[in-house]
């Protein structure tokens, strides 16, 4: 906790009127609060409008999924990974099956890898759309929310057609994916959708929100996370890239078949203010949507034929003795699984390193000294999801 030696500039630090001192006010932000993105409770100590101390209180959604992992077999636990980041479940599926396959050393069919990449990237776009929408909403912009949800609906429809589920998919299993592409022109639908998104919709978001003067005023130079802080606090994903660090697990620690594709890694450059401010984190997500579209197009155009499952779908898998940490780039950042196997059908220990958990910690430092309204911008720009923080 850094109540800090920082000079806050608030009244509690100074003696403006001799003999009269202001007091710190304790304020609960959440867990039932429209701007905290779920059941997050921030315990604030404020000095007037200035935040003096931020203490996140977690656990309202805790299910102890890591204990459950010790009781159900590897394939059954894929269902629980869906519930971590419920805005991008395909990315969570992908992270977990990658970790299990790393221990099993199993060869996944090429077609399955392509389908995994396509669905995970679609999920990432859907998650980023929610991030833009709710961030805009926090800043008082209603309309982009409706636009973003409209496009997200298209993605949910596409994912429903391939996996059978709209929100939670349970689509990937160790050794491949559950279902092949349906025979109803799914590939063409996806290509049509991403073309529409690239050519028209992203321009809409930029016109409505990105370069909106009010939005820039609210987000530029606000909640600046510098590069050293971002690394020290273990920030990953758009938060780290927003601070100007060109790091993406998909390229720098490549997994699956991401090394086959050509894509850029957008970073924050301080175009509207300082590097690492809220606007930078926002624009990184907008540009990542474009890059995800590029990846999807390449993956679908080179979609190979063949089977989509290397292991019997029904039988539980057995994982040889060993331990491995495997990390992937989820929509929120680096999603890692540390699995220890004792040779059985269930994990001996399965630790989940969730990106939102690590990203949120930075508000304890960066939130101090901000206005309360800027804290809302900071938390919104981190794009946390409580399902994976509390697990």
């Amino acid at each position: 906790m850094s109540t800090g030696e920082l000079k806050k500039g608030g009244w509690a630090d100074q003696d403006h009127v001799p003999g009269i001192k202001s007091e710190l006010l304790e304020l609960n932000m959440g867990p039932q609060h429209p701007a905290t993105h779920g059941v997050l409770r921030l315990l604030l100590k404020t000095d007037g409008e200035i935040v003096y101390q931020v203490t996140p209180v977690l656990g309202y959604l805790h299910r102890c999924a890591e204990k459950i992992a010790e009781g159900v077999n590897y394939k059954q636990w894929v269902v629980y990974t869906d519930r971590f980041d419920y805005l991008a479940p395909m990315c969570c599926n992908h992270a977990y099956v990658t970790a299990v396959e790393k221990l099993m050393e199993v060869e996944v069919p090429r077609r399955a890898e392509h389908l995994r990449v396509v669905t995970a990237e679609l999920s990432r776009i859907a998650s980023h759309l929610i991030a833009l929408a709710t961030f805009g909403l926090d800043m008082g912009a209603w309309t982009p929310l409706l636009y973003c949800f409209r496009e997200r609906e298209e993605i949910l429809n596409l994912l429903e057609r391939i996996s059978g589920g709209r929100m939670l998919y349970n689509y990937m299993v160790p050794g491949g994916v559950r279902y092949d592409v349906p025979n109803d022109g799914w590939v063409e639908s996806v290509l049509e959708f991403i073309t529409m998104l690239e050519n028209k919709k992203i321009k809409d978001y930029n016109d409505l929100l990105t370069y909106n003067k009010i939005f820039i005023e609210r987000t530029a130079d606000v909640g600046v996370i510098d590069e050293a802080t971002a690394k020290a606090y273990g920030c990953t994903g758009p938060v780290l890239r927003g601070s100007g660090v060109k790091f993406d697990c998909r390229r720098d620690d490549s997994y699956s078949i991401y090394d086959k594709f050509d894509f850029e890694i957008p970073v924050g450059m301080g175009e509207q203010g300082t590097v690492g401010d809220c606007w930078d984190r926002y624009i990184v997500r907008v540009r990542e949507i474009e890059q995800s579209c590029r990846i999807i197009r390449q993956a679908l155009e080179s979609l190979p034929d063949g089977s989509v499952q290397a292991i019997d779908l029904i039988k539980p898998v057995k994982v040889p003795v060993g331990a491995a940490y495997s990390r992937t780039e989820s929509a929120k950042g680096e999603l890692g699984h540390y699995i220890i196997s004792d040779g059985g059908q269930t994990a001996f220990r399965n630790k989940v390193r969730s990106p939102s958990f690590c990203n949120l910690q930075v508000v304890e430092k960066v939130g101090v000294g901000q206005m309360v309204s800027d804290l809302v911008a900071l938390v919104g720009s981190l794009d946390i999801v409580l399902g994976e923080i509390d697990r």
Partner: protein, 212 residues
């Protein structure tokens, strides 16, 4: 840099605190004595050749009952019997606790894994939250769920469970309490089938039809 070369540098710095190097697995790892973890982490972070500026993951582990031979499940999850009584266990947990650190260097682009093992009766490891601030929350989580004390931690409170919760769920000998703050912990845990296979009750009139 090669993993082994990193370990050799580290061992040269630590001396006797560097216990062993484990090669040949999917993920090689170095075993460090608990007293050596803080100097090791400071060295790994500050040495320019190593430059480990990110702690990717910190995991607390209860090694109780881990079967190296790979026979499979060592100890099931303790819970309730079908009648709802807490499952009695005459087995006393005795395995060590462990903490695993996964490091990454943005500059050098290499990874490294450190493991610490500490006796169950001690269950305390020095904190590394001074080295990487991100460790503070990971350690709070490990304290909360596994029950490993991190000495020197500035704010070691429960992370995900309530302050009044008793026990640490990720311990292998954890039994869910029968009630918490007056709330009965109804419902059997996931490991036990809530719908045990029993003879289905005959529906409607249960009297056998009279013989004609």
């Amino acid at each position: 840099m090669e993993q082994k070369a990193i370990y050799d540098l580290l061992a040269g710095h630590l001396g006797e605190h560097a216990i062993a190097w484990h090669e040949g697995e999917i993920e090689p790892w170095a075993e460090i004595a608990p007293e050596g973890i803080n100097p090791a982490c400071v060295f790994l972070r500050d040495d320019q050749r190593l430059d480990f500026n990110q702690l990717m993951c910190l995991s607390g582990i209860d090694w109780d009952g881990f079967d190296e031979a790979g026979k499979g499940k060592s100890l099931g999850i303790l819970g309730y019997t079908d009648e709802g009584a807490p499952e009695a266990s005459d087995r006393v947990a005795e395995g060590d606790f462990g903490v695993v650190y996964h490091l990454y260097s943005h500059g050098q682009r290499h990874k490294f894994t450190l493991r610490v093992r500490v006796a169950r009766s001690v269950a305390a490891v020095p904190t590394v939250s001074e080295v990487w601030p991100t460790a503070a929350w990971h350690e709070r989580e490990a304290w909360d769920l596994v029950g490993i004390t991190f000495t020197g931690h500035a704010d070691l409170r429960r992370m995900l469970l309530e302050e009044s919760w008793e026990g640490h769920p990720l311990r292998k000998d954890y039994v869910m309490p029968a009630s918490w703050e007056g709330v009965p912990m109804d419902g059997r845990p996931y490991a036990v089938n809530p719908f045990p296979a029993t003879e289905p009750e005959p529906k409607g009139d249960s009297t056998p039809p009279a013989e004609a």
